[in-house]
């Protein structure tokens, strides 16, 4: 039925597929085609870190996540560009370093999270925040308000959602990421602008991992702030 050459090819292919499955399960991971394809595409472009920047009236925040090395960093800056606080999640979600700047005094604390939380973090850190942002805008609560041309010439899609007297208007660009967000408060039937934000989403390259390297005041090791009232 099959020629000898075809049979050898078929057998080789079968062996390769079996090996791939054995490798997957031996490493304790489930086979997730989408996840592997997504990670591979990031590595191929050397764009291994997801980056989010949100500018608000009182300053701005930046967030970085490496879904390959499972690390993240979150910074908040005030309007003068001074660091207000930084959170680093390292060691695949197990260690937290938190730096705070209170009226010019910088302090840093670090803690190891309990295993159950660390394991949950390990799973979370492998998820794409950028995909999550896109998915959020596909929810049924958003009403399409058509297209609009911005002053810089960019054409954006405008969507809107209202809840508890607050109306959120989001401007989405051609990449399906939000670039601007406005919040309006309903006061006696009039919409009053409460807050405006600009947002930036992209993948960047950080092969050396310098973004997640600690650089700050001496770190004090403390117990994880978990399951306590804090004060006392």
């Amino acid at each position: 039925m099959f020629s000898k050459k075809k049979s050898v090819c078929l057998l080789t292919l079968l062996l390769a597929v079996t090996c791939l499955f054995v490798y997957q399960f031996k490493n304790g991971s489930t086979f997730n085609g989408n996840k592997i394809a997504f990670a591979a595409s990031i590595q191929a472009n050397n764009l291994n870190v997801e980056y989010i920047k949100v500018k608000i009236p009182s300053g701005y925040s930046e967030h970085w996540r490496d879904i390959i090395t499972l690390q993240e960093r979150s910074d908040t800056y005030d309007n003068n560009g001074k660091l207000a606080n930084r959170i680093l999640v390292l060691e695949k979600g197990k260690r937290v370093i938190s730096i705070g700047n209170d009226n010019g005094k910088m302090e840093a604390y670090s803690w190891i999270l309990p295993d159950d939380i660390a394991n949950e973090n390990k799973t979370l850190l492998s998820k794409s925040l950028l995909e999550n942002v896109k998915n959020e805008l596909k929810q049924s609560k958003w009403i399409d308000k058509g297209k609009k041309k911005l002053v810089d010439g960019r054409e954006v899609r405008v969507i809107e959602s209202s809840f508890e007297g607050l109306t959120e208007v989001v401007y989405v660009d051609a990449t399906d990421f939000p670039i601007k967000r406005e919040f309006f408060k309903n006061e006696n039937g009039q919409l009053k602008l409460l807050e405006e934000r600009t947002e930036e989403y992209k993948k960047i390259s950080s092969q050396s991992g310098e973004i997640f390297e600690y650089n700050g005041p001496e770190v004090k090791e403390i117990p994880a702030p978990v399951g306590e009232n804090g004060k006392g």
Binding site: H63, Y109, V226, G227
Partner: protein, 192 residues
């Protein structure tokens, strides 16, 4: 004597103006039945960095803030308590889900209107938000004190922006007394 009274009046007026123009941010009480997760960002995909018990006091980080809607919840940036740090600090800041979207939703933390003193040695009231220059009067352990809110309304208890441990106090008996109490030695409550 007249001069002294005038100077004192000016000091009081200046203090009132300083307080009146500064930003004040709400102190909230955690109302969940289980621990509330504090995350590195606004959404369920962000890492859990801490957890606070029901009844803990957390503070809104921003005075004006519409929050972030993600994964079916409204998220707010908050100061959370950490016993090891020993005070509210920018080193203990993260994001917590405030409420899930939907009709009749529960609140995971809610506004407060006053405090109870939880320090066994009592607390002094201070003139300034950096908690210096105490007034001579001591509030005792277990004593209730109202939150002073210049705007009135729902969010009664607030802290001075930039000073998360400086909670604005006003006596429940209605006698005028504006000052700051050390929030770390107080338990925020809703007296309504």
């Amino acid at each position: 004597m007249k001069k002294l009274v005038s100077i004192l009046l000016l000091v009081v007026l200046a203090n009132t103006l300083i307080v009146g123009t500064a930003f004040a941010v709400a102190v909230m009480d955690v109302t969940t039945s289980t621990n509330l997760n504090i995350r590195s960002g606004p959404g369920l995909s962000y890492s859990i960095i801490a957890q606070v018990n029901p009844g803990s006091d957390i503070l809104f980080y921003y005075e004006v803030d519409a929050g972030v809607s993600a994964d079916g919840y409204n998220w707010r940036k908050v100061y959370y308590p950490s016993a090891a740090i020993g005070q509210y600090s920018s080193s203990a800041v993260g994001w917590a889900a405030w409420y899930p979207y939907g009709t009749g939703h529960p609140w995971y933390y809610y506004y407060t209107t006053g405090v109870t003193v939880i320090s066994s040695t009592g607390i002094y009231e201070y003139q300034y938000p950096n908690l210096t220059s105490p007034y001579p009067m001591l509030y005792n352990y277990g004593q209730d004190i109202g939150g002073w809110d210049q705007d009135g309304g729902l969010a009664g208890l607030k802290y001075e922006s930039g000073y998360p441990n400086a909670w604005r106090l006003y006596r429940l008996d209605g006698s005028y007394d504006l000052g700051y109490g050390n929030g770390w030695k107080l338990n925020a409550k809703d007296f309504r």
